[in-house]
Amino acid sequence: MALRNEILLSVHDLKVFFHSDNTVSRAVDGVSYDVREGETVCLVGESGCGKTVSALAILGLVPQPPGEIPGGEILFKGKNLLDLDEEALQEIRGKEISMIFQEPMTSLNPVFTIGDQIEEAITTHDTVEKTEAHRMTVELLTDVGIASPEERMRDYPHNLSGGQRQRVMIAMSLACKPDLVIADEPTTALDVTIQDQILHLFRELKEKRQMALLYITHNLAVVAEIADRIHVMYAGIFAEVGNVEQIFRNPCHPYTMGLLASLPSRARKGQPLYSIPGAVPDPAYKPQGCPFHPRCPYVQENCRREFPEMCDFEDHHFARCPVTYRQRKGS
């Protein structure tokens, strides 16, 4: 359904490792996905499963050392971003790919007015007149729904509420009309009503500006709202890939099933909430075989030994679980 457009970003078998004293944390362990023009792709997963790191790797913001990108490629408009040097990356950051961070409280520089900061985002990549930058800033702030933008421009970040700051961050990320916006849990730090407003804003802006969105979150409700394609991440790999309908109606990986079963809306009154037993493995000491097998209710002998293949369940719906695949297709 959403596969109509040109591929904008294509990540192949990306690996990001972090070295500490004697151990290697395999934070991202071979993920592949495409983002097409105008599409919203979601990476969903628990804390520490490698969502943010895989996004930072796209912009070359993984600190090296201790980080290392031992393999894979990130093709953006045909260029491999991993081969570019710092200067070439600076050209792309903000101009073609921009990023919105989780914490609006700390992502704005406390000593400058927000007007200054948005104007800087504009003038970093385009040489424009001061008055023109001012006009564009007002326009951006209006676009992201900030009331009386002329006045707010003279405010410092501490004068604004969390929702307003996140709107400002969004305005900054849109300043150079990027083709791809990476949003790293942009609503996590906000309360539910503001979260809803921001999600609406994203949808509106996406329509208006024809940009692609790579949306990272741990919140399944958010995913259901905005995603075209969903990638469920677990311990640095993709457990399941599909569109909203496929993932929510017909989950094929036991991890996805567990996640959906633990949503409060599915619980019956008076019953304790379901939770997946166990905890996410330490990225430095992942279990052999399928990384989910210690927590999996359907675990079989093979799962402990062999790393599972990606299985093609139906039209563009993949899950890394041969056990369910055999169950559904075999019999």
């Binding site: 990023m99 000593v111 400058f112 009386s148 410092y156 990320s173």
Partner: protein, 390 residues
């Protein structure tokens, strides 16, 4: 119904936006600062000193100054403060402008008031210029040390910079042939590094050149090492040595004091940067494609300035003291220009005959240094919220 709407209209002017009284950061800090009486006193003395020094510059320098600090009246020597000049022995242009010797005269009959007036300008400029130099060096080195701390310096870069720097110094000192040779060698090494150093280009480095890319130590080790070495020297004696070797002038002293007192600022900035560089807004700025230099000097330095500002204020007091100390020892500003230090130094020979010659500059130094310290302490309390309201 109408009444309700009107009421709303008055409570929420401009279409529902409620205006709250707003204070800028400066107003907020000023409000806090004003409560601290000692700091306010310090600030007032600071402002007064500033005005006096600037007027002193205008009124005591030049060919025919309003107050002439260098005018010798041998017949009027060692007059005590507030004494009247003997009008019979003086030519009309030799009579002090105030009609009395406010602070007395020294052993050559020079008016101590005029000399103090002139000296205040020297103290002010020494304080500000020296601390200015120290802050610039400190912020630069501390910023680089804090931001690029873990980057490695390789043998090639070190070799290139030593050769280039040494060559330029060589040329300046007269060894032109050797200097040019060193500069050329350094440039060659740098060119090799740039040609092959592009780590993203996955070309193998030819044999023999790989030694140039041997990592020696990190930037942080270099800069903290430099700070520690500079702190090891007893700085007053270092200054004495340097001043003894270089031609005596007020500018030499400013520069030397500045070059030997940047370590505090560098340490503060480095420490601030270590925590600032992990902040989200730095990552956010990088994600927007802002260059590293711009991030350091535009985004991070303003956030790290609070402790530097405080130490700079106190540093001005220290620099004034150092200059006075140097002048007292005779290494300072050469005569006939007056500074508080050399008035004091001159006065010590007449400690019992003319105590005002030591008392007046001594008290002036005391007041100014105390004022700067109080002001600095007040500033520290305002800028560091943890110290407030205690």
């Amino acid at each position: 119904m109408m009444g309700v709407n009107e009421k709303r209209g008055s409570a929420f002017p401009e279409g529902g936006v409620l205006e709250t009284p707003k204070k800028t950061l400066f107003q907020e800090n000023w409000g806090l600062f004003r409560k601290n009486r000692l700091a306010m006193a310090g600030l007032m003395i600071f402002v007064a000193f500033f005005i006096i020094a600037v007027t002193g510059r205008v009124l005591t320098y030049g060919r025919d100054p309003y107050f002439n600090p260098a005018l010798v009246r041998l017949q009027e020597k060692l007059r005590p403060p507030l004494s009247k000049p003997n009008l019979e022995t003086l030519k009309p242009e030799e009579v002090p402008r105030l009609g009395i010797y406010l602070f007395g005269t020294d052993d050559l009959g020079r008016d101590v008031f005029s000399r103090m007036f002139q000296g205040s300008w020297v103290s002010l400029t020494v304080g500000f210029v020296a601390v200015g130099i120290a802050v610039v060096i400190g912020v630069f080195l501390g910023g680089i040390g804090g931001y690029y701390g873990s980057s490695q310096i390789n043998l090639g870069s070190l070799l290139a910079s030593v050769l280039l720097g040494g060559g330029i110094i060589g040329i300046l000192l007269g060894g032109t042939a050797v200097g040019v040779l060193m500069v050329l060698l350094g440039a060659a090494v740098a060119a090799v590094l740039i040609r092959m150093g592009n780590s993203k280009a996955k070309r193998p480095i030819p044999m023999g050149f790989s030694v140039l890319f041997l990592n020696l130590f990190s930037v942080d080790v270099l800069i903290t090492g430099l700070i520690d070495i500079m702190l090891c020297f007893p700085s007053f004696f270092l200054i004495l040595t340097v001043v003894a070797l270089l031609p005596a002038s007020i500018y030499t002293i400013m520069i030397v004091i500045g070059l030997t007192s940047w370590m505090g600022a560098a340490r503060f900035v480095r420490a601030e940067f270590l925590s600032l560089r992990e902040q989200d807004f730095v990552t956010a700025a990088r994600a927007l494609g802002v260059s590293n230099w711009r991030i350091i000097f535009r985004h991070m330095v303003p956030n790290a300035m609070a402790p530097v500002l405080v130490s700079a204020t106190i540093g001005i007091a220290t620099a004034i003291l150092t200059e006075a100390g140097l002048s007292f020892l005779g290494f300072g500003v050469p005569p006939p220009d007056a500074t508080w230090g050399n008035i004091l130094s001159n006065g010590k020979n007449f400690l019992f005959d003319a105590p005002w010659l030591t008392f007046v500059p001594g008290v002036a130094v005391l007041i100014v240094v105390l004022a700067f310290n109080l002001f600095g302490e007040g500033l520290r309390e305002v800028l560091n919220p943890k110290l407030r309201e205690r």
